[in-house]
Amino acid sequence: MNTPAVAFVGALVLVGIGLVGTLTCRNLIKVAVALQIMMKGVLIALVAAGAAQGQINLGQSLAAIVLGVDTIGAVILLALSVQVRRRFGTLDVSALSQLRR
């Protein structure tokens, strides 16, 4: 196995850990942390895919844009959690379940 392949597998593991985090964490901010971990995995995966094709700079530029998008997502999610804390008094996602059925 060459290095990009190793990196890609590692990236998938990171995405998997992120998924585990979104499923096991109850705190909204921790869910945001888990999403960040997923995105780290995605960045590595994109760059590794570019590297495998000898197009490392293509992979880099895609990853740079994804990094921007993902940062905006994180900011929005954090702003939302600030608001959630204000309205619901807690960050526990189980409190956010009034829209049910």
Binding site: V6, V33, K40, I56, N57, Q60, S61, L67, I72
Partner: protein, 193 residues
Amino acid sequence: MNLEVTVFILLLVGASLCALMAISAPQLLTSALWLAAASVLSALVLYALSAPTMAILELSVGAGLVTILFVFAIQYEQSDTPASPPLIPRLIGWGLPLAALILTGALILPLPTPEQPAVEVGTFATLLWGSRALDALIQVGLIFAGTLGVLGILSSRKQVSMVTDTADTAQPDRAPLPAPPVLEPTLEGQEPL
């Protein structure tokens, strides 16, 4: 297995461990710091993949800016939510992603080496600002939308004090129907069909 691959594996295992710590740490602040650590290690992975620009970006934005945001949000909240058990059984929470991962692995491994990798023309800058200029521009639009949205979300406290949770539009002709003062939908206890 040569040295290069070993270094890679070590870095990735380190990043994964940090990630695991981040999602299992009881304190939010610890969690954010572990995330920063994972970010630094992934930046190293990126560097090792000979993507130095991206590594620097990840270090500054991913490990720096985002961590600051997280810490800010956590400090702002001052919340020390005690660790509560997850909402779904741990077996599912761990098992489902693991199963997805294994199945994906079964599908794609071993990752084939492309037969004739294209020879790349241009540097990171020319690619980002030349070839993918459109994407960069769309990203600017996204940043604008996100900023507006965050402004909206964070400013809604003022509206509450002004409008006091009444209605989205007021129609003076029609008195509001008797309703609970809260805005939660009343979904319980419906009449059957």
